[in-house]
Subunit: 105 residues, 2 copies
Amino acid sequence: MSTETLVPVFAALGDETRWSVLEALGDGEASASALAGRLPVTRQAIARHLSVLEGAGLVEAVRAGREVRYRVLASRLSATARRLDAIGAEWDRRLAAIREIAEGL
Amino acid sequence: MSTETLVPVFAALGDETRWSVLEALGDGEASASALAGRLPVTRQAIARHLSVLEGAGLVEAVRAGREVRYRVLASRLSATARRLDAIGAEWDRRLAAIREIAEGL
DNA sequence: GCTTCCTGCAATGATTCAGTTGCACAAGAC
DNA sequence: GTCTTGTGCAACTGAATCATTGCAGGAAGC
């Protein structure tokens, strides 16, 4: 997972409503219409959010007859967490090195 | 780190320019004016981004005379990564349980 | 066939956001 | 004291985004 694909994931996760959608999908896969029944937004709004989440690779669309069900891709979350952890560790390393140089002066 | 404070962090990380700012701060703490010399945006734009990053707890302001230097808080990154990993694991657990029930039918 | 439900596209409105310019003020440098 | 440099606030523009309503099409159910 490169840094370029990382930014859209964070952008997708940086919205409260989208977290509601993800939480609702935690009960199992569901269609946009089904989610609209549980959340205080219209079906179209949810469809847009699902499209954003799908673009970020956080959910996956599955056709089931005439309806389209969405399911969470937990692997994407884990991969993002790993990348974030690696970046944090890298920063720790660099900042520690800077501190060391500063003390050496 | 609660879920509420998590969303602003993701929103802050969901912007390419903000990543440029963070990367530039990886070389050590710097002021908004100094960063403006290295990035293709004005000082005010950078100041706004730094304000967002500070609000998310990703950077910290340090007064040094008349200038305000910002430094990365790598710990926030690590904490966010841990939370994300925990959420991913929780989803894995729930989705596995659902799958198990579905097979049991 | 007809009806019903779910999806998809288009247009609109309101809000937010990124970025700019301009100006005022404060603190070092000389 | 004067000049320079860094910061802060305010107003403005343009673009993106969130959410809405309305309507058309398509696939199952009867």
